[in-house]
């Protein structure tokens, strides 16, 4: 599976059970990346991303267990370590900001190989950085 996450400068994801931030430009990027594919997410994520068009959306609290090879998973409040062997790629959207956090990405990205990187302006963020990581062999 291919995991998509949004992170702040400290790898934070959530604070007080809420996503740290959001941006329509990220949603649009996810729509383009997942076009024609299957995108899994939690019921919480579906509140914001559940209206994305052009893909097969699958909403399930246990989506990381259910997702298959080559399928996308939007992870906002999930621990990924238990599923690390299933993860083929990680797509990271960096907010390039520091927010409060009490839930962090539990993967060490230095153990993954960065395969691509590009930046784009957000609707509310000056610059968002998108990176793709592949498991080191």
């Amino acid at each position: 599976m291919i995991v998509i996450v949004c992170l702040d400068d400290r790898k934070g994801m959530m604070f007080n059970h809420r996503r740290q931030s959001r941006d329509q430009a990220v949603a649009e990027r996810i729509r383009k990346i997942c076009r024609g594919k299957k995108l899994w997410m939690s019921p919480y994520s579906a509140q914001l991303y559940g209206s994305l068009k052009g893909m097969e959306l699958a909403v399930n609290p246990d989506f990381l267990s259910l997702a298959g090879s080559g399928e996308f998973c939007l992870a906002e409040s999930e621990e990924l370590v238990p599923f690390v062997k299933k993860i083929e790629y990680i797509i990271v959207f960096w907010w390039n900001r520091t927010y409060p956090a009490d839930f962090y990405l539990d993967l060490d990205l230095s153990r993954w190989e960065r395969k691509g990187r590009h930046e784009f302006p957000g609707t509310s963020h000056e610059k968002i950085t998108e990176e793709i990581y592949e498991r080191r062999t």
Partner: protein, 351 residues
């Protein structure tokens, strides 16, 4: 340091939790003193008078005045707040803000308390909407000397200067510049590690959604101290009933490695007061990780301070041309190794 923090436990958190029924009036004197029984005898600033902000460029008319109500009287005992343990902030009241249903309106406003007889700030309270946010770059605030102010430098402090003029409500939220009712003396750690992330989160949420966020900052003083022990920050997004923004935290006005006399604002290095060097180097933010790895040890963070510019994505090392200047940049982000900065997508400055 420990003794100082134990003494904090004796404080009753000053809440100034008198909020106002929305009674429209053209009589400015209606925004008068609201008796605050909690302030009596506690040496708290008599800041129950809250002024509407000056109507700056591009801001909506905020001349509305309101009548006080005491349906939100509340004092938080410092005993409920854990002693500072290295985290720049701590969640309080289950991270739930105390706004009443009546306060949850969609009308933007901002209010700042009058300074008390000791020149100390009181509560700053706003309903942050896009219409209050700045349209131009922040100006100088150097002329304001908040209570407890000292210009003092330490090598172990990010940017050297121990104290910053801390906006209670950040400039990015309500565009208040050199408003003395909105500026307190705060450590670098409180300003950058403690308050700024919350301001960032609220500002970006408002910009993205157009929703309103109730945002209240209460400085907490003990007795006649000139320096606040910290600030309580509460926030709540109105339109989505807190689904987007909802928190209640206390941010400590401390600086690791520095012992502060809160009565006067005077300070000393811990190493000069018998605290071990190891303790003195304790970092304020026990972040769970950075881009280079979640569980990186704090030791790496102690070793070196790399100053990144979030706008240009360039980082500066000690001795480089713009290193000192970056300390006061609005776009400053501190890394603790060049590798950490590079992993975050930053490149090294050429000079």
């Amino acid at each position: 340091m420990r003794g100082e923090h134990n003494s904090m436990r004796k404080i009753v958190l000053h809440s100034y939790l008198f909020f106002y029924l929305a009674v429209f009036s053209l009589i400015l004197t209606a925004c008068g003193q609201a008796d605050n029984p909690n302030s009596a005898g506690l040496g708290e600033p008599s800041a129950s008078v809250m002024d509407e902000a000056e109507n700056g460029s591009g801001k909506p008319d905020v001349s509305q005045t309101e009548k006080p109500t005491d349906n939100r009287k509340k004092s938080i005992s410092i005993e409920e707040i854990p002693a500072y343990s290295g985290q720049p902030y701590v969640e309080i009241d289950g991270n739930q803000p105390g706004f009443t249903e009546k306060e949850k309106t969609k009308k933007s406003f901002e209010r700042y308390s009058e300074l008390d007889s000791l020149g100390r700030c009181g509560v700053a309270y706003a309903n942050v909407g896009k219409d209050l946010m700045p349209t131009k770059k922040r100006g100088s605030i150097g002329k304001v000397k908040p209570s407890g102010w000292h210009t003092v430098k330490y090598d172990i402090v990010d940017g050297k200067y121990l104290y910053n003029r801390c906006h209670l409500i950040g400039y990015q939220l309500t565009a208040e510049n050199a408003n003395e009712k909105n500026l307190i003396t705060g450590t670098r750690s409180m300003n950058v590690d403690g308050m700024l992330p919350f301001e960032n989160m609220v500002a970006d949420y408002v910009k993205e959604t157009g929703n309103d966020v109730l945002y209240k900052v209460t400085p907490v003083f003990e007795g006649k101290d000139l320096l606040a022990r910290g600030v309580q920050i509460e926030a709540y997004s109105v339109e989505d009933k807190g689904d987007g923004i909802c928190f209640n935290v206390f941010v400590y006005n401390v600086q690791p490695g520095i012992r502060i006399n809160y009565a006067t604002g005077e300070s000393k290095k811990d190493s000069e007061t018998g605290v071990s060097g190891k303790e003195a180097k304790k970092t304020p933010a026990s972040y769970a990780g950075s881009r280079t790895g979640r569980n990186e040890s704090a030791q790496k963070k102690e070793a070196v301070e790399i100053r990144g510019n979030q706008k240009s994505k360039i980082y500066h090392c000690p001795g480089q041309a713009a290193y000192k200047k970056m300390a006061d940049s609005d776009y400053l982000i501190v890394f603790h190794s060049e590798q950490e900065a590079q992993d975050a997508g930053y490149r090294k400055a050429k000079r």
